[in-house]
Each structure stands twice: as structure tokens, then as C-alpha cells.
């Protein structure tokens, strides 16, 4: 046993070394983004480049809001995030419906829901655009929000979790005279807190990052999201890398902060969903 632990020390050092080296390699883009975003425009193009800015400045970040409409993009993005939480509630309700009720055609409908996961986004992209166009919803916030509300994978995860809630508990509440929606909001939702946490974080990230659909639907700059605005910035200020990096950092850093607070839940979420 003594021999084994001695060997393990070297092994452990090697594993940690590779892990740290790989981790640094993976983080280079992030480090470079943060460092460049604080550089003045002249320094960002200087060769050899500096890792820590010589003359750190906040001008790039200020520019985002004064020369670009990042305040508007931020507001639109937050509106999308807000409504995607309404979608999350719909998905949770559907998950509960499939998990805890027996009704005619339940399994069939559930399989259809699962089947929609296999349809590639490229196939539905064009007809959904045509549909929204026929409804007069192109170039509106509603048109951007509506198609992303229901997520089959999310319904699936909610259902998986909610089947584990004991029937007796719900039955007991019914005998006490509780209504079905009262049971859902007051009994089921608190029990399902962990899955709501995971889905909430993932929903936030997806909403915050939403790009393609806003790009297709929105013609007016007043409807652009942060991602669309950032790609616009890349086109307009092609050589102002400092400004580009500030824009990127403005999008990435909030997600990193939220993620580092909640990463435990995300990892648990995968174990919970039974993908093992």
C-alpha cells in the first residue's frame, strides 16, 4: 500500500499539471478578451502585444453605451430573458401534466413532443418565418419571443423529475380540498426546486445568448439583442479590436458570474436527468 501511495504522488502531480496547463490554454481567449477590452485603441494593435494593459482605460465600455445602442440591446435581451421564464413555466406545467395525470392519448402526445427534438432547426426556420409573416409578427418583439417559448427537452426533463414525486402526496392535498393549480404552485413547485434551478439557469443563458431568431425577425435596430448588436459592431468597427473585446466581455462576463455561482446545480442537473 505504501508503494502505491508513493507512485500516486507523482501521478497526482502530473494529472494536476496537465489539468492546469490545459485549463490555461482553454482560458486564453477569455484572458485576452478581458485584457484587450481595457486597452486604448492604439495599444491593442501594438506588436509585441501586452498582457496587462500599460494604460488601462474604461473608454471602450463607455463607448458601447454612448456611440452604440448597447442600452437598447440590453433592454431587448432582458425582455427576451423575462419572457423565456414564462416559457419555462409552460414547460414545467406540461412536464407535470405528462408526469402526474392519466389521460387519453397521453403517451402518444408525449412521444410527439419527444420527436420534435429531432427536427433540425434549419427545417423549421423558413416555415416559422413564413408563418410569423402571415400573422404579421415579423419585426415585432412577439415574433422574436413566441417561437422559443416551448422547449421539448425542457418538458422532458421536468417530466422525468416530476414522476418521482409521490402520488400519495398529491392525492392527500386533493382530499384536503386543494385545487389542481393550487397543488401545482404550492406543493409541486417547491418540491421541484432543484430542477427549476437548473432549468432557470439554462433558460437564462439561452435567452441572454439568443441570436439567430432576433436576427431573422428584427429589421429595426430598436429590436436588436446584444448578440445581434455585437455582430453589427464587428462589421462596423472591424479594426477597433478594443471596442469589440469590450462588447464581447459585456456579453460574456455576466454569464460567467452567474455560472460560477450556480455551477453545482448545472452539473447535478445532468445527473438528475438520468443521462448517465
Amino acid at each position: 500500500m505504501a508503494l502505491a501511495t508513493k507512485k500516486n504522488k507523482w501521478e497526482q502531480a502530473l494529472v494536476i499539471f496537465i489539468m492546469v496547463a490545459g485549463g490555461i490554454l482553454v482560458s486564453i481567449p477569455f484572458i485576452w478578451m478581458i485584457s484587450s477590452s481595457f486597452k486604448p485603441e492604439s495599444e491593442v494593435l501594438s506588436i509585441p502585444p501586452t498582457i496587462i494593459p500599460d494604460n488601462p482605460t474604461l473608454d471602450n465600455y463607455i463607448n458601447l453605451f454612448t456611440n452604440m445602442n448597447f442600452a437598447v440591446y440590453l433592454r431587448n435581451t432582458l425582455v427576451i430573458v423575462l419572457f423565456s421564464f414564462l416559457g419555462l413555466l409552460f414547460n414545467a406545467m406540461a412536464g407535470y401534466g405528462f408526469a402526474k395525470y392519466n389521460f387519453r392519448g397521453r403517451d402518444k402526445v408525449f412521444y410527439i413532443v419527444l420527436a420534435t427534438m429531432m427536427i433540425p432547426g434549419q427545417v423549421t426556420m423558413i416555415p416559422v418565418y413564413l408563418l410569423l409573416n402571415a400573422m404579421g409578427l415579423t419585426n415585432t418583439m412577439t415574433g422574436i419571443i413566441l417561437p422559443g417559448l416551448a422547449v421539448a427537452f425542457s418538458i422532458f426533463l421536468f417530466r422525468q423529475f416530476m414522476t418521482t414525486i409521490p402520488d400519495d402526496l398529491i392525492e392527500a392535498a386533493r382530499l384536503d380540498g386543494a385545487g389542481e393549480f393550487y397543488i401545482f404552485f404550492r406543493l409541486v413547485m417547491p418540491i421541484a426546486k432543484p430542477i427549476f434551478a437548473v432549468q432557470g439557469i439554462l433558460t437564462f443563458i439561452a435567452g441572454w445568448n439568443s441570436f439567430l431568431w432576433p436576427l431573422i425577425i428584427a429589421n429595426d435596430e430598436s429590436l436588436y439583442t446584444l448578440s445581434v448588436g455585437l455582430s453589427l459592431l464587428q462589421g462596423q468597427y472591424a479594426n477597433n479590436f478594443a471596442l469589440q473585446m469590450a462588447g464581447a466581455a459585456f456579453m460574456v462576463v455576466p454569464i460567467i458570474i452567474i455560472f460560477s455561482f450556480f455551477q453545482k446545480y448545472i452539473v447535478e442537473g445532468f445527473t438528475m436527468s438520468g443521462i448517465k
Binding site: V26, V123, M125, S231, I256, Q263
Partner: protein, 293 residues
Amino acid sequence: MKLKNRHPYMFISPAVLLLSLFSLIPILIAFFISFTDMNLKGLADWSSVSFVGLENYQSLFADDKFIKSIFNTIFYVIIGVPLVIICSLSIALLLNYGTSKLFTMFRAVYYMPSITNIIAVAVIWGYLYNTEYGLFNYLLSLLTVENVPWLQEPTIAKISLIILAVWKGIGINMIIFLAALQGIPKSYYEAAEMDGANRLQVLFNVTLPLLRYATFFVTVTTLIGWMQFFEEPFVMTDGGPLDGTISIALFIYKEGFQFSEFGYAAAASFVLFAMIILVTMIQFKFRKSDTEY
């Protein structure tokens, strides 16, 4: 009792109706318009749309750009998918080695790229890949390597996009492998150790076989994802240079939303759909033969 039966439908209907409207009905519409010459003119006036039979499908396979996009997509899949699986599995094995705070911290570091916004990623990597001012060429110049045209030469550009996509794709698969690794009972390792198996033997005879299900899951989802390779070429190269990085998904987007050839694009999307179904079915078939382990 009758009244109670209404409730399940009240719970499922919002999500199910939205899904039908934006997932199921569209697939029927897409199938229908793939046999028509639906374009911008048809959008304003439906009566100008006419049925063209299989014409869209025929002209697709005579379209050099489409053939090129198929070739590029195969290139992305063949190089990218194995790379993602090998990298994410290796990192998962590394992270599974210890349980200290350091390992948890690095788990977050490796996961980070996968939740990062694709546009931000493209902007950052565009700067890193920049021929004159980019960090990569600067670092290579220290090794006296001449400037690499990261995004200006078709084959190098494809590889550059793959590097970026692998970097972004590792996180989620690594987590799945990690969850699977943590599900392997300790007693298996103890038994192998008692039998005198060395590290490599344990890896190949205990760990990897037990990761079979996770590997299958990761392979299927990664393959489907890479067949729809879209955002990376879309934001970094717009399919160029000389259509060298255009993928099938990007081809569909361009035909649909840049040239407004909705019928043609819908036909292309069904070709992609058919390819995805075919590849997925082959994998499931392939798997069945070795389920009895």
C-alpha cells in the same frame, strides 16, 4: 370526476400548442413548399407560387455550391466529432482523478466556453486569428513561423473553425462523461486492483466499457450537432473564402434569408434532415450488434 379530466389538458396545452405551431406544423409547411418555387414574390402574393415537383431537389444536386457545402460538412464532421469526443473524455478522466476544490474549479474553467455566446466567441477568435494583429500569429512569429492565413485559405479556414468549435463543444460532453464516471461503483476498481491490473488495463477494460452508454449518447448528439454546423462559419467567414467554409446549414440559411428562395432552401433542409436521420439510424443499428457485452 368529469371536471377533473379537464385539468391535464390545461396543464399541457400551452406548451403543446406552441410546439405544434412552431415545430410540427412548420415541418409540414416546409415539406410542401419544398415542391414549389416559393420566393420573395410568393411571400407577398400567394397566387404567384406554383408547384414545380422535384425540380428543387434536382437542381440542388446540380448546384456546385450545395455539393461543396456537403463536402465541407463531411470534412467538419469527420475531423470535429472524434476530436470533441476524445478531448472531452480525456478532460473528464483528468477531472475525475481528484475531488479537491482545485478539480471543481477547473471543471468550471473547461465548461465555460460552452455557455459563452457564439457571437462573443466569434469576435474574440476573429481577433486571435487576425493575420496581422492576432495573438496566434504573434506567438508563432516568436517561433519564427510565418504568418498563417487562419481564415483566408479554404482548408486552413475550415480547420480554424473546427478548433474553435471543439473548444466550445468540449464543456457539455465533458459533463456527461463526468456524470457517467462518477456513477461507476468503486468496487469495480478495487476488484481490478486486486487482480493486479495496471492503470491502462483498468482504463481499457473497466472504465471505457462502462462508459459505453455515455459514449453512445455523446456520439449521437455530437454528430447531429456537427451535421448542423452553422454559427461558426456564419459569423466568422460567412461561408468564404470561395465557399470554402460553407456548411449545409449555412447554405440553407443563405438561400432562405439572403436570396429569399424559400422553396429551394426548404428542399435543401429536407436533404439535411434525411442525412441526419440516416446517420442516426446507422448508429443505432451499429450499436444493437454489441449491446450484449
